[in-house]
Amino acid sequence: MMHSIIFAGFGGQGVMLMGQVLAQAGMSENKYVTWFPSYGPEMRGGTANCTVVVSEEPVASPVVEMPTEVVAMNIPSLLKFEPKVQKNGCLFINISVVDRKPQRSDIRVYEIPANDIAERIGNLKVANMVMLGSFVQVTKCVSIDSLIEAMKYKLSARSSEIIDLNTKAIFEGAKHVGG
């Protein structure tokens, strides 16, 4: 099984970190992983995105035209990447920010109020980890345990309060989709 995921949103929403945490978790499970950012003028001021591949086989290219999953944290990301999701793939939408409906009916759509959940548990900034919790719960791309360990590794320089908050965010995100 190969997951190819595009995480997209505004700069500051932590979409690059979402991808890196997922890739780190995949590596810890001895899967083949790549992470690839959008770079250059494209990322100045507008939307940022990164592509993560998690696979049982060596990854050919970290650049993916048609991802199996897309995580859209804002409206421009939804507009840009919804058409690219593979048929029967998944689209995760942060409906706290995105006030419109997707157009396609041949994909599975998960509407996550990531900002609202994040604010409810204490800090808007962890909306990315809420979303990531939901994403992993649905796709089973990696285990939730690996995801939390990966998040702790990436945030190892931060305080235990911040790590606890991010852990909670992942659990709350997972819970929202039945975890």
């Binding site: 790549t34 770079y39 250059g40 060596p58 050919a60 290219s61 650049v63």
Partner: protein
């Protein structure tokens, strides 16, 4: 060995430090500025020296200076910046100075774009600067391989006293992949030729200069001898499922890894496809490719260029097997699917 997720360019930087490089000179340019930044951050931690030069022209000459006093040195850049360095590289090659260059190739010509490309192949392998010189050119296809080839690059540079180029592209430079570093003791000693001050010995000169054509020809003959040695000893390549293959794909670097997936896809459909992946672009593995291409019905060369390595493939195959080409240019990365589709069209046409 412990694996960590690292960006390609940062992994190259860390590998350089592990290889004993303590002097880096560079100028920011996308898509490799993270390597410049990495060295700015890391070198002071290990007692090294980082300097942001005023241009790539200055950077390559700082490299010349730091190498000539015997130190392991590196610079990194991307296509337009590498063009600016060519004069200095020619000097470094003629003065027989070891130096490691990283070109994270982007779409060209001109200002081009900042997406991955292999369009600098001619410049890298056929001499971008003036005169009869050669760069040793290494083309990694994964972040792990990039670190291994970086360590190798410093060894080869010292062994042959010659500039070595890591030929990467924006894809390899920007992507993160798991990487493990081999810990090894690094010792090197260039004091037998370096400019160290003429204490207790006659003064020494390191130059690329000889006004007497017969003298300069002697220097050239010496260089050529060295290049023949490099060709005999340092040619590297990977063969993947070629024994029973009917069709051979030839691809290097990033395209090499993409082509590997094409081979897997083809094998799943029962098509006997193999991959030949040159790792050294100079010295090019002509003999090995010539042998690998024997008895095949088709050789498909795939590149992120208009067909530059294709010329070397033709030289290797020497008309004995039919050669086709598939390329994307200007920063467009071919997908395994599109290459496979093209391959199937060729097979149907056979």
């Amino acid at each position: 060995m412990k694996k960590v997720m690292m960006k390609g360019v940062e992994a190259i930087g860390e590998a350089a430090i592990k290889a004993g490089c303590r002097n880096y000179f560079g100028y920011p340019i996308t898509p490799q500025s993270e390597l410049t930044e990495y060295m700015a951050r890391r070198l002071p931690e290990v007692g090294g020296s980082f300097l942001q030069a005023e241009s790539e022209v200055a950077a390559v000459n700082m490299l010349y200076g730091a190498s000539s006093v015997g130190k392991r040195v590196m610079t990194s850049t991307s296509s337009p910046g590498f063009s600016l360095m060519q004069e200095g590289i020619s000097y470094i090659a003629c003065a027989q100075l070891p130096a490691v260059f990283v070109n994270v190739v982007r779409g060209g010509p001109g200002l081009g774009d900042i997406q991955p490309s292999q369009g600098d192949y001619f410049q890298a392998t056929k001499g971008g600067g003036h005169g009869d010189y050669r760069l040793i050119v290494l083309s990694p296809s994964t972040v792990q391989e990039a670190t291994e080839l970086t360590l190798l690059a410093f060894d080869l540079a010292d062994k042959y006293r010659n500039p070595v180029l890591i030929f990467a592209d924006g894809l390899l430079g920007q992507m993160m992949e798991p990487v493990a570093f081999e810990e090894k003791e690094i010792t090197y000693d260039n004091s037998h030729w370096a400019l160290t001050g003429s204490k207790n010995r006659p003064p020494r000169q390191v130059t690329s200069f000889n006004i007497d054509p017969y003298g300069l020809e002697k220097m050239n003959i010496e260089l050529q001898k060295k290049y023949r040695q490099v060709e005999a000893n340092e040619t590297r390549y990977e063969e993947f499922l070629i024994e029973d293959a009917d069709i051979l794909i030839v691809a290097h670097g990033t395209v090499g890894r993409i082509a590997k997936s094409v081979v897997r896809m083809a094998r799943e459909e029962g098509l006997k496809i193999g991959l030949f992946r040159p790792i050294t672009l100079y010295p090019y593995p002509y003999d090995a490719l010539s042998k690998a291409a024997q008895e095949k019905s088709l050789v498909l060369t795939v590149e992120m260029s208009s067909g530059q390595m294709l010329e070397d493939v033709k030289l290797a195959v020497c008309g004995k097997t039919k050669i086709e080409f598939y390329g994307r240019m200007a920063g467009v990365v071919p997908t395994p699917e599109e290459i496979f589709t093209h391959l199937k069209t060729l097979i149907r046409g056979q």
